[in-house]
Symmetry: C2
Subunit: 262 residues, 2 copies
């Protein structure tokens, strides 16, 4: 009886997405350490990047047990682009096995690091099928990261919100857009913070984008705001741990409402 | 005097974007050949992918004269992800030179093939700065390609429209979303064609996406439709040249209205 109840407890799978170089791997490591230290539980770690050279966490499940992009380059005489695509194709053949391994982990939170090049996960079948299979066992949600150079103009912040919307549409999961602070100056940060937390101010700024696009952007922000969708964007730092508590609270809230946000 | 007038004639720069493996390079080659054969002018070709192994066109300007991703891997002992990012950083240092070379080409149309991994262009500074510098000399617009496996569900078609919107927002250029047909079956193609050409039908289908996301999606499609934005999505084939005339007409129309669409 105890076993039956245990098996029914679903884990929380957090898929960390974002364009190449935005700091996915560092955030997986720092968020994991933060959870361990402040929530007194050990999260599990999954690496889904066949091109990763080093990960600052010990992966419980690692796609590189099945395929390594560098080996594919040599073996199949491909360039880096071709090898990354081919690696994902190979990984697709092992997807059931990868998902089963993650499903068998006992940690309440599992942090999933995705391919360095986001599009290999988000704009190919890989991500859609991974999430679909994973959902049969556990709750799945996503974090979509931008680095600050990608979020310095009002139109970039709307782009981040739209990218989080695309991830939500394609993968069928809730997503939180996040700005990874990096070593951004205080002054620039304050301007950004205002745009990130005030949809009115963002709509006001985005109106100034040239032509029709400004009008469309303003209306899109209004819709996202109306549905309280991607309205709060936390700024986090893997270095100073700034914003990690807020991010954890948002993750926790999504899991508690169990999909009420979608 | 003749020389002065000649210098003032702007060229049309078509930047071809899309996720890894969607068929950017093939479309650049086939669209170029189509233009040559049917419009009796020779387009120029630019390759901006430092990771390209082979291009089926002869590039007039090639980023690989400055940096090759495979050499960066060896020289700087990086994995494929790191090498691609580093290659783009190196190319950034040569951007003025690259832009000047393109500006000096005499062809009325220039087709620009972008990095295999779209995010290196769209979600880093590279694309934004390239377009900004290029605009000082010539008209610039974009094509955003999805392959059919990425556009088979209604929510994927909305994702393509949103991705075209993001490209428009970040780069400040008009973009045309395109579905690259590949070897798609006739039946599947007909269903897709309906969703691609009828925003009403797409809005109807997308409503069925679970929860709030369905409602948001429906409203987003209405806004895009209201502004006649990304409403027509041509299906093209690099193999059979199907749809290339329609695509060329759309490109030509955007250049003729000279930015009236944004």
């Amino acid at each position: 009886m105890v076993l039956v109840i245990y098996l029914m407890v679903k884990k929380n799978i957090v898929v960390v997405l974002g364009p190449a170089g935005c700091g996915k791997t560092s955030l997986v490591a720092s968020l994991g350490k933060w959870i361990e230290k402040n929530q007194f539980m050990k999260p599990g770690y999954v690496n889904l990047d066949p091109g990763a050279v080093f990960t600052p966490y010990v992966a419980d499940v690692d796609i590189r047990s099945y395929v390594r992009a560098e080996e594919v380059m040599t073996r199949e005489r491909l360039g880096p682009n071709g090898a990354l695509i081919r690696s994902i194709e190979i990984a697709m053949g092992n997807l059931d096995d990868i998902v089963a391994k993650i499903a068998s982990l006992k940690n309440p939170y599992i942090l999933v690091d995705t391919p360095g090049q986001m599009e290999l996960f988000l704009f190919r079948d890989f991500g859609v099928e991974f999430v679909e299979k994973m959902k049969k066992y556990d709750y799945v949600m996503g974090i979509v990261i931008f680095d600050p150079t990608l979020a310095s103009r009002p139109q970039d912040i709307l782009s981040l919100k739209l990218l989080a919307t695309i991830a939500q549409l394609r993968l069928g999961i809730d997503t939180i857009p996040v700005v990874n602070k990096g070593d951004l100056g205080r002054e620039k940060l304050e301007i950004m913070q205002k745009l990130l937390t005030s949809p009115e101010q963002l709509a006001d700024e985005v109106k100034r984008v040239e032509g029709l696009l400004g009008e469309i952007s303003e209306k899109m922000i209004q819709i996202l705001e109306e549905y309280r969708f991607a309205t709060r964007i936390p700024i986090v730092s893997s270095l100073t741990w700034e914003g990690l508590e807020k991010l954890y609270d948002m993750i926790h809230e999504i899991f508690c409402t169990c999909g009420d946000l979608t």
